[in-house]
């Protein structure tokens, strides 16, 4: 496989193999079409724009020289108040918009922007709301372009654990499958992901003892193709025969059960995945991260807890893992490892061109791996204030911990950086392949962690911890501001070209364009544009509510637009959206973001910009009522 990968014949072989599996005549057709769509600046057909998940556009109509002329073009309210993560999709003349629970989906007409072509408003059990841990967000939609016989589809997840396929032209439900059972504490917030004729979906609810998995469904029928767990026996974790053969020191076989867990604890061991995927048609591998082990209290799960907190490379057709690198063995901080995986091709320090995967993890380290075999190439601190780990040993892959910042019993750890929210959370960042730089939105938040044990009658006890979160050392701890950063990162030379502080976390991620701009939203309700070369602030606009999603851009009828969701919420917004006051609530997020409510309030929608606000309604006749038809 390795040798054939880059050749055309390899792709044909894969396609031929897939014919047998799917029993369809032209299985590769849909995938080719999706790749083709994603390469056009008129479309944004998946979160991350292309399979490389770079959030990068080659469009230059809007650029560093003229971005100050960017003005609102049109806007659309989703009618949902809670946090809006992710980004809208655009394919041709349609924009597809999603919302937080109760998870409406809208298809909008880009020729008469804001006009609703269809809408899908599912009925869901209200219990789903109670099960979700950290606001009732959703991270977006997926698009399957059809294959000539079957029409195009929109795939969505619902908080109540269902994955649903809609007809992209009508919004009619084509199929609906229960992926996660809220009766066992499992919900869905992840955006589904389409590769070939398969749709991938993860799982949520690690804190409730769910055993995490990723599942592949047939995009046409909803039939399950395979499911791979994060913990358990090798066949259920789906390890390929050559799993980690290039890096046996990462661990190989028989580690998902009682070798790294006590007894059967792996059965409730967490490792859910609710972040983002990326895919490489050459390796035929998709990439994602599994999350934190459960239960939360680390004393109850001695061992490395494999394969939670792992960067995975899995074959899309079989689900089998070719490599898995565990970043945080035996997590003690809730550093769920589900963050974005951005793919790039860069020359390493020896000058060898390599296929890379870059992943800014919640634990405060940004990892770059060879995505063909998982070899670790760099592991740099997202900020020099990261302290739970002194460094990651690149030879062994092991993080060298500082015991002072561990969370063990009988030890109150102060100023652990990053906090449980991570220096980077679910934000979808960007990569500029011309400049070979990553633009990363950062949380600058640290925490105190005070474990306690209270005994009670009849042998009962309660082990817990009280968490306080507050700005990192570069922020303002008197006023609870300076909780975020944005920076430009060079993964090969292990350096940051520039970094800028923000009042609050840059939670949602970034968009980079060939116009030398990085766009991002802020929790306090701005969309901003900076010069990717210098970090200089070039433009900003005040949105109706704070941002936790990532911006996107598309060109329609010759005009380049930039779009972004507003709608504050998510983990940083739990205090605001649920009106909580106890600073230690939300694992301490309520205290850290106590000032947020002075800057923004709830309300969800999409805001679209263009130069001078140019939009279809500049022709005032567009969208006008022209009298009774046929009268």
């Amino acid at each position: 496989m390795t040798k054939l990968r880059t050749s055309v014949s390899a792709f044909t072989l894969t396609a031929a193999a897939a014919i047998g599996v799917a029993g369809s005549i032209l299985p590769a057709f849909a995938n080719d079409k999706l790749v083709e769509l994603s390469n056009s600046e008129e479309n944004w057909p998946m979160t991350g724009k292309t399979y490389k998940a770079q959030n990068y556009s080659k469009a230059t109509q809007i650029n560093a020289e003229n971005v100050k002329g960017l003005r609102p073009a049109w806007a659309f309210s989703t009618g949902v108040l809670h946090g809006h993560e992710g980004t809208p999709l655009v394919i041709g003349d349609k924009m597809y918009v999603h919302g937080a629970f109760p998870n409406p989906t809208f298809a909008l007409d880009l020729n008469e922007p804001g006009k609703i072509l269809w809408q899908h408003k599912p009925k869901q059990a209200p219990t789903a709301r109670a099960v979700a841990c950290c606001d009732v967000v959703n991270r977006g939609l997926a698009y399957w372009p059809g294959d000539g016989k079957t029409g195009a589809r929109i795939l969505k997840t619902q908080l109540d654990g269902h994955i649903v396929a809609l007809d992209a032209d009508t919004g009619a439900e084509v199929w609906k499958m229960e992926n996660s059972d809220i009766k066992v504490g499992s919900t869905l917030t992840i955006a589904p992901y389409v590769i070939k004729d398969t749709v991938l979906v993860g799982s949520s609810g690690a804190e409730l003892g769910v055993r995490g998995y990723v599942t592949a469904y047939d995009v046409k029928t909803g039939a399950q193709k395979w499911r791979a767990y994060a913990t358990g026996p090798d066949d259920e974790v789906k390890l390929a025969k050559d799993f980690n053969s290039k890096n046996p020191h990462y661990g190989q076989f028989g580690l998902g059960t009682n070798k790294t867990w006590e007894g059967d604890a792996w059965k409730i061991g967490g490792g859910t995945n609710w972040g983002w995927y990326a895919y490489d048609p050459d390796t035929n591998l998709f990439y994602y991260g599994s999350g934190n082990p459960a239960p939360w209290n680390e004393t109850m799960r001695p061992g490395d807890n494999k394969w939670t907190m792992t960067i995975w490379g899995r074959d899309i057709d079989t689900g089998e893992a070719k490599f898995g690198y565990q970043k945080t063995p035996h997590d003690e901080w809730d550093y769920a490892g589900v963050n974005v995986m951005m793919l790039s091709e860069q020359k390493d320090k020896t000058g060898k061109l390599r296929k890379l995967l870059t992943h800014p993890d919640r634990n405060g380290i940004v990892y770059t791996l060879d995505r063909e075999d998982g070899t670790l190439i760099s592991a740099d601190k997202l900020d020099d204030t990261v302290n739970w780990v002194k460094q990651v040993d690149l030879k062994t892959g092991v993080p060298v911990r500082d015991p002072e910042f561990a969370t063990r019993m009988d030890h109150k750890a102060t100023e652990i950086c990053p906090s449980a929210m991570g220096y980077h959370n679910q934000g979808h960042d960007s990569y500029d392949p011309e400049k070979q730089r990553f633009y990363m939105g950062i949380n600058h938040i640290c925490m105190d962690w005070e474990p306690f044990m209270l005994p009670y009658r009849a042998g009962q006890f309660f082990v817990g911890a009280t968490l306080w979160m507050y700005p990192g050392p570069k922020g303002d701890r008197q006023n609870y501001e300076g909780l975020g950063q944005i920076k430009s990162y060079d993964a090969i030379n292990n350096k940051y070209d520039w970094e800028k502080m923000e009042r609050f976390s840059v939670w949602g991620g970034t968009l980079a364009t060939a116009g030398n701009i990085v766009f991002y939203g802020t929790l306090d309700g701005f969309i901003k544009a900076r010069d990717t070369r210098t970090g200089d602030l070039l433009w900003k606009y005040r949105l109706p509510s704070g941002v936790i999603g990532h911006p996107m851009t598309y060109t329609h009828k010759g005009v380049q637009y930039v779009a972004i969701y507003y709608g504050v919420g998510g983990w940083p917004g739990v205090g605001l959206v649920f009106d909580l006051n106890d600073p230690t609530a939300g694992l301490g997020a309520v205290g850290a973001f106590k000032n947020l409510a002075n800057y923004t309030q709830m309300g969800g929608g999409v805001q679209v910009f263009s130069l001078n606000g140019k939009n279809p309604y500049d022709d005032v006749n567009v969208g006008e009522w022209t009298g009774k038809q046929g009268g």
Partner: protein, 282 residues
């Protein structure tokens, strides 16, 4: 935030310094007996004051010839020693294990243990030993979190399969940084409605609800014969006492005298509640 935690520590320190003063106060017979009590710890203690230990507290205070003053807390009783007694906000905590090292405990007022709660008709046969759980085909068990009952589930290999079910009993509330516990009455109603094959609970947690159940239920005391696989013995039978601050010898002596005097009334309260009592520990 850091300052708040320091302040809390300072407060605890102050409480310790002030303790001798409080002790001498509580020695005065004219002073009411200040009982630390949770509003939400049914069936032991309720806002209405109709809990088992609310009743026993009244009986004991009467035997001491003192008025009773309940100092009410909104939080669960697990916090009473730390947040009430140790801060001198109140002077006695009813319902501590007799060997609780954080307090000075009175002589036991009663002894009881963990029981199986099953339907009288058609419930699983679990015997009277924890190993009954290993042998049974029954799968669904209601227990409270972080109790010997949960450990029994673990040792019997029934824990992992019951985790989600257990969390459903608290509506999947996040347990990460807060004390979340299954309501005692819920343990019993789950057996009544058939969602659980059995409950495993400390007898006084459930006695009241078993007695009042719409379907006849039985409680079977589990023998005190349980050890973890690493050999550590886990007691299933417990002496229950009243706790006072460690330097409050005088109050403990008064309470011990009152317990002896009020024994018939305490026994009646236990009997009315339906608590199966064991002979005092030799």
């Amino acid at each position: 935030m850091i300052r708040i935690s320091t302040a809390r520590r300072a407060l605890t320190g102050a409480a310790l310094l002030a303790a001798p003063f409080a002790a001498s106060q509580s020695a005065s017979a004219a002073e009411p007996l200040k009982v630390c009590a949770s509003k939400i710890e049914a069936p032991y203690s309720t806002e209405k004051g109709d809990g088992l230990e609310n009743r026993i507290a009244n009986v004991v205070a009467k035997a001491m010839g003192r008025e009773i003053e309940f100092v009410w807390f909104d939080r669960a009783a697990i916090y009473l020693v730390r947040d009430g007694l140790d801060k001198n906000l109140c002077d006695v905590v009813f319902g501590v294990d007799s060997d609780d090292e954080r307090v000075l405990a009175t002589k036991p007022i009663y002894r009881t243990g963990y029981v199986y709660v099953t339907k009288s008709e058609g419930g699983p046969e679990l015997g009277s030993n924890w190993k009954g759980l290993e042998k049974t085909d029954a799968t669904r068990f209601a227990v409270r979190f972080s109790t010997p009952a949960e450990l029994i589930l673990k040792e019997a290999g029934k824990y992992e399969d019951n985790v989600s079910y257990g969390l459903s009993l608290v509506n999947f509330q996040d347990k990460r940084n807060k004390y979340t516990q299954v309501e005692a009455g819920k343990l019993v109603s789950e057996v009544v409605n058939g969602d659980a094959d059995a409950a495993i609970a400390f007898a006084p947690d459930v006695a009241r609800y078993v007695k009042g159940a719409s379907t006849p239920l039985k409680m079977t005391m589990i023998e005190d014969d349980f050890a973890r696989s690493d050999g550590l013995k886990i007691p299933l039978h417990f002496d229950q006492s009243i706790g006072v601050r460690k330097d409050d010898e005088k109050l403990r002596a008064e309470l011990d005298a009152a317990i002896a005097k009020a024994k018939p009334e305490i026994d009646r309260a236990l009997s009315d509640e339906g608590v199966p009592v064991l002979p005092p520990n030799a």
